[in-house]
Amino acid sequence: MTHILVPVKLVPDLVEELQIAGSGNALDMTWLRLIISEFDDHAIEQAIILKERSGGEVTVIAPDQEGMDDVLFTAAAKGADRITKLSGDFGEGFNNHALARAFASAVEGLAPDLILTGVQGNNDLDGSVGPCLAEYLGMAYVGYVAGVSLEGGKAVIKKEYPGGLIAEMEVALPAVLGIQAAEQPPRYVAVSKVRQMMKETSIVEIDAGDLDPSGGLDVSRMYLPEAAERAEMLQGNEKEVAARLVEIFKEIGVI
C-alpha cells in the first residue's frame, strides 16, 4: 500500500500587516497570525486525491506551531489517516534547514513511498523545504508539480515551466514532490466534521530533538521598503500640470 507523507508548516497570514521585531532582523511574532502555507494545503489535497483514486494511506506531519492542531484535525477530517506533530523548539521562528532536518529524522520511522509538500512558502528565506528534505533523505526531488498519478513503483507527474509549458515525467519512488497546485482546489470540510475528528482522533507526537539550523542564512536586517526621493509630484490645476508635463517631456527628449 502506498504511504504518502505530507510535511506542512504554518506561515505568516498576510491579512494582518507585518511588523518588524525590536531586534530589527525578524518579524514580530507577538501579533503575527499564522496560516497553513497555501502550497502545503494543496499538497494535502493532492495526497487525498491520490488516496481516493489509487488507495494508500496519508500521513500529515507538521512542526508544533501555535494553531497547528486545528490544521491537523482539518486534514484528518478531509481524509488524512494519521496526523503527526514534531515537538521541539518551533515557537520563535526557525529556518527551513532546521525544519527539513526535523522532517528527515521523522521520515525514517514512517517509511513513506511518496512525500508531497508545498513547492514554497511565503517565509522561505533559505530555500524551500522540499529540496532540502530530498537532499537529507537522498531522494529525487521535482518541484512545481501540478498533477500526480501513481503507476507501479513510479509517480507520473506534470511539472509546470514558465511560459505555460508543462512536462510530463516519471519519477522512481520514493521521491519528494514540491506541489504547485493540486488537481482541484483544497476541499471544504464542515466545522462539525472537524470537531468530530477532535474527539475521535489524536495527534501523534514525535520528538524532533534539538533543531539544527546550519546551512541557513543569518538575517542582518529586516525592513519595510523605504521610499526613495525620486518622484516629483506636480502641483497645480490640470492645465498647469499638463503644461509642466509637456515641458519635462521636452527637457528629457521624449517629445
Binding site: 491579512v15 494582518e16 501579533w31 496560516i35 482541484q184 482546489p185 476541499r187 471544504y188 470540510v189 464542515a190 466545522v191 462539525s192 466534521k193 472537524v194 470537531r195
Partner: protein
Amino acid sequence: MAANAVPHSPSFTNTFYESLFDVADGENIKSCLQCANCSGVCPFGFLMDFPPGRMIAWMRAGILDEVLGSDSVWMCVSCYACTEVCPKKIPLTPGLMTRAKEEVLLAGNVPTELQSALEFSQRYGNPLGESPRKRADWAADLRPEVPIMRKARRPVDVLWFVGDYPSYHPRVRQTTRALYKILTALGIDYGILGPDENSDGDTQRLAGERGLFEVLAEKNGKAFSCYEFKEIITTDPHAYNALKNEYPKLGIEYPVKHHTEFLAERLDELKPRLKGNGELKVTYHDPCYLGRANKVYDPPRALLEAIPGLELMEMPHNRTTSLCCGGGGGGMWLDGFQWEKAHVRLSEWRVREAVNTGADVLAVACPYEPPRFEDAAKMVSGAGNLVVKDIVELLADAMEE
C-alpha cells in the same frame, strides 16, 4: 457540481426526513398538499431540479440521493417566500432547505465562492476575509469617539452589534456612520464590541454550515457575557434574526431590536431634528429577514414618513410579497455560481420594480442591499438616477446639524 453526494443508506432518507421535525412546526411537512405554491413563488424555482415541493414528493417516495446529489439547493436564497405562502405552514426555509444544504455541505459539495466565505468566517470571524483587528476601523476618525466596550469598561444602555458588512464594506460603512450620527444626536448611551465581535453566523447557518454558526455564536455569546448592557441593536436583519431567534436556542438570550424598531420608538425625539430637503419620492424594499422572517413591516415605514417632504411609494411586491435581493442563505457568496445557472440577478428584478414606481430613492434596511442594488442599478435601463440608501442614511441626511 464536482461530485455526487455521498451515497446514503435507505434508512438515511428516514433519518433526514425525521430530522426536519426538529424545527419549530417541522411536523407540518407531513401534511404537504403538493400544491406547489412554494415552487411557484421561489425566485429561482423555475430552474431548480428540486424546488421545495418536489423535494418533499421525492422524499415521500423514498428517494433522497438524487435530491441531495443535485446542486439546486445552492440556488435557494433563504428568502422565506416559500414559507410565507405555504398553506400548511411548513417551515420550508429554516427546515427543509437549510437541512438539505447542511447535508450537501457535509458531503463536500460546496461551490468554491461559498467555500471562501465560510473559511474566512471560521478564520477571521467575518466572511469578507478582513483582519478581525480592523473591525472597528470604520470608527477610527469619528469624534466623539465610538465607545468600544473593552476600553470603555462601563455599563451601557445599548450594545450596538455592528455586523460584518457594516464594519468592513466601504459602501455599507456609510450606513454605519449614519447610524452613529443619529445615535450621537439622540444622546444614546451605547457601545460596540469592536474586535471582540464576530460574524453573527446566520447566513452561514442558512448556507448549511451549522457547526460554524455555533462556533461564531459561542464567541459572540462569550463577548456579550463580559459586558453590561440592557439591549442589543443592529442594522443587520440577519444578525437580528440570529440574536432574536437562534442564539436563545444556544442559551445566549438578550433583548434585541433592529435599528428601525429602535429609532421608530424614538420618533418623538427624532422628528424635531428632521428638516425638509425638498420633495423626495422614496420606495421601500422590505428585507427578507426583517419582513417575512420577523414580521417587522411598519417601523421602517414610520421612519420614512417622518421625513418632511418625503413621499413613500410602494412597489407592487411589498411587505410579505417583497422580492429578495438575492443575498440571503449564502447568495451573497454565490453570485458567480447563481449567475452561471440563471443568467438573471434577483437584485435587478427588484431595481426594475423600483424604477417603475417613479421613485428617486430605493430605501433599504439591510447591509446586503446598498451594494447589491447599486450594482443592479448599473445594469437596469432607466435606473441610472436611482439612489439606493439605507433608512438611517435618509434620516441622517434630513437631520439638522
